[in-house]
């Protein structure tokens, strides 16, 4: 981690701005641009403030960056971006992408994304990533020149294809199961949490009505008037307090969402491994069948039933020259195949090694982060209860003075 970019560079996504411009199909649209600021850390220790470099990027550029990273480093669990559209909303939150609260939360999410990439031992060294942070113009062209797009398309196809691997790596299979479970449990949790938040909001807000009625009622009372009036005030405070509480909870929800998307990234790595394994198996199978063919031709025995065998029986055998030619071709192919197989095997082993290393790293990070998130959630709940205690103690006092 010593070479980590994050240690050398301070990165923030500090602002968000609405812009209008022409998009890829030349249609006028409104979008939000985010200001990325970077500042070198080292010079700060000398008492000098390093200059802040900044540039603006929009969400689609972040997406491009991530796609590039996922394709270029298939064995890495690439950090996810914050959601494209607002999901798991409860009724008060708007699902509008332009809503200031949503934009704010997205800004934080994007900053988080950049920090995660910057603190990843492998990803932070990527030149394209560095250029994303520093080079405003021409970045898109730079990315496209890497030709990753071709790989991206085939990868997308592969990820969605169904196939069976004969000797799956147990660890990866387990991991895939885990990522599926994680995805499903977190999304279920987020859904229910949204509903709970909705209900809680209702309970608090209805108490606000108390405030109004109490104050109206106090107008006609003599002795009870004061007590009622101040109690009503506390009810209003109670009702208003829910807004802040739920806003804080949204941050917790966002933390969980990150890991929901991380689960997808994890799954992608597993799939990639499966793909490689399948590839390997196919290549090995191919090689074996070619070797068999060669043997058959050479010895003239037909071990397995083949159409060729049948036709040759029916239409006469081929000449020895033809056979020789075929054998030669096959031998060449076999040689190629063996080399390919060797390299594929090597590739596979490398992949497994580096993937597994990153997975371990990811696991640790996940456990640490989730634990922190759960703790902060508990702290939030406690603070909510403390506020509740305060309000109702005050209210009780007012009531007893009625």
């Amino acid at each position: 981690m010593e070479d980590c970019l994050a240690k050398k560079l301070e990165i923030t996504v500090s602002e968000a701005e609405k812009r209008t411009g022409r998009n890829a199909v030349n249609i006028q649209e409104t979008y939000t641009a985010y200001l990325i600021e970077t500042r070198a850390v080292e010079s700060q220790s000398e008492g000098q403030c390093a200059p802040v470099e900044s540039l603006w990027r929009r969400y689609s550029e972040f997406e491009l960056l991530r796609n590039y990273l996922s394709v270029t480093y298939p064995h890495i669990v690439v950090p996810p971006l914050p959601e494209k559209r607002a999901d798991f909303v409860w009724h008060k939150l708007s699902a509008d992408n332009m809503d200031p609260d949503f934009v704010e939360r997205r800004r934080i999410g994007l900053e988080n994304f950049l920090l995660r990439v910057a603190s990843h031992p492998v990803l932070c060294q990527d030149k394209i990533f560095y250029a994303f942070l520093m080079q405003e113009g021409g970045w898109k062209e730079m990315v496209n020149e890497t030709g990753f797009q071709l790989k991206a398309d085939s990868r997308l196809k592969a990820l969605n294809a169904t196939f069976r691997v004969k000797n799956p790596d147990k660890r990866f299979t387990e991991l895939k199961h885990y990522s599926d479970e994680l995805q499903s449990v977190i999304s279920h949790l987020l859904r229910v949490r949204a509903r709970v938040a909705d209900r809680l909001y209702g309970v608090y807000k209805v108490h606000g009505n108390y405030g109004r009625v109490f104050s109206e009622w106090s107008a006609i009372e003599k002795e009870m008037g004061d007590g009622l009036q101040s109690a009503g005030h506390h009810m209003d405070v109670y009702a208003a307090s829910i807004d802040d509480i739920l806003e804080e909870e949204e941050h917790y929800a966002d933390q969980l969402k990150e890991y929901l998307f991380y689960a997808e990234a994890l799954r992608a790595v597993c799939r990639k491994h499966e793909l490689m394994q399948y590839d390997l198996e196919m290549a090995a199978q191919d090689l074996t069948s070619k070797k068999q063919q060669c043997e058959e031709l050479a010895t003239g025995t037909v071990r397995t039933f083949s159409l060729k065998g049948m036709t040759s029986k029916l239409f006469g055998q081929e000449t020895p020259e033809q056979r020789e030619a075929k054998i030669k071709v096959l031998e060449e192919q076999i040689q190629e195949g063996e080399e390919q197989l060797k390299s594929k095997n090597l590739e596979g082993r490398d992949f497994v090694k580096s993937a597994w290393a990153d997975i371990e790293r990811f696991k640790e990070q996940k456990n640490h982060d989730l634990k922190e998130a759960l703790i902060s959630y508990a702290v939030m709940q406690i603070s909510m209860c403390k506020k509740g205690i305060q309000v109702w103690t005050n209210a009780k006092e007012c009531f007893s003075k009625m």
Binding site: Y178, G227, T393, M402
Partner: protein, 425 residues
Amino acid sequence: MEEEGRVPGPPLPTGGEGPGIDSHLAAGILGTARGPPLAAAEVLALDDEEDDLEVFSKDTSLTEVNSFSPSVPISPSSMINQYKFEDGPELRDLFITVDDPESHVTAIETFITYRVVTKTTRGEFDSSEYEVRRRYQDFLWLKSKLEEAHPTLIIPPLPEKFIMKGMVERFSDEFIETRRKALHKFLNRIADHPTLTFNEDFKIFLTAQAWELSSHKKQGPGLLSRMGQTVRAVASSVRGAVKNRPEIFTEMNNYMETFSQKINLLDKIAHRIYKEEKDYFNEMKEYGPIHTLWSASEEDIADSLKGIASCIERCCRATEKRMAGLSEHLLPILHEYVLYSEILMSVLKRRDQIQGELDSKVDAIANKKAEKYLFSEEIGKLEDKVERANNALKADWDRWKQNMQWDMRSTFTNVAENNLHYYEE
């Protein structure tokens, strides 16, 4: 039957009329024909009071005494009980409980009876303990008798016949329990009332066996007389607002209108809160187990997840308690006061009615000066009647307000406490 004369507050008119006749007249107002033997029983008690009250002048404004006034001299021991304070259970001598609902099936109908247990140390009760069974109709009967006898006293509300909103089945356990509690409250409020508690019908209600009660019921004023009363009520309300209504009652009226509005709102709000809490509870029930499920696929954070799951469960239980607190304490009281506000409005109307009669007679006289002297007596009586009604109402009003205050205070404090406990957990 006529208890009015025994209220210590409003003094009897000192026009020299005998208490017996007065009570007869008072009874006559309502167009009922009471049997003489009952009046005779009154005379005895009233005699005592008249002696005491003769010292008071007719200037009622000075002597408007409410039930708590300690200045009325003490007479025979049975009177002492009238001066008990609401908040002092040590002075209560009549303890009533309503419980044990039971279903009875007959050929024509099915109904529920409740057991009414009375314990008392009062002299006029033959024994110190009574246990009878009563059905809702009997309660209705008692209430209407009390209303007849004391048109301007505030009779506590009875639970309604049906509750349309919740579509509660007539014999569901929840409905029966709510009703039982309300009936219990009803009887106890009567027992606590300084005047109503000595009502004869009340006593009979508490003590008579089933057959005794039904025969007694038949004695009362017929349907016709009650209808007559209703007709008069309608007529007087058609006549519009009473001209000479004293300021204080206009105030009361205005207060009641606003109060009724507010209490209805509060009732709605409380129900709404209950519903929201219920929904919240239901969602929370699902929320906890998800965490447990998750912990099954994790290793490191499994404990934290399980911890959260159990905390959520505790929250659920706490929410349940909070809801129970609401439905046991706040909701019934608010509902009772909603009913009370209706009752009070009608009490005020009745008072207006009575006054209306007086006024109309006065008007009639203004046009017939010759016969004035004949009517003057009648007017005098009517005036006194109005007076008495007014005072009874005032006294009771203050009492009611004090009660209400206390009830509200304790109820809301209770709610606050419950919420405290909820958050502490």
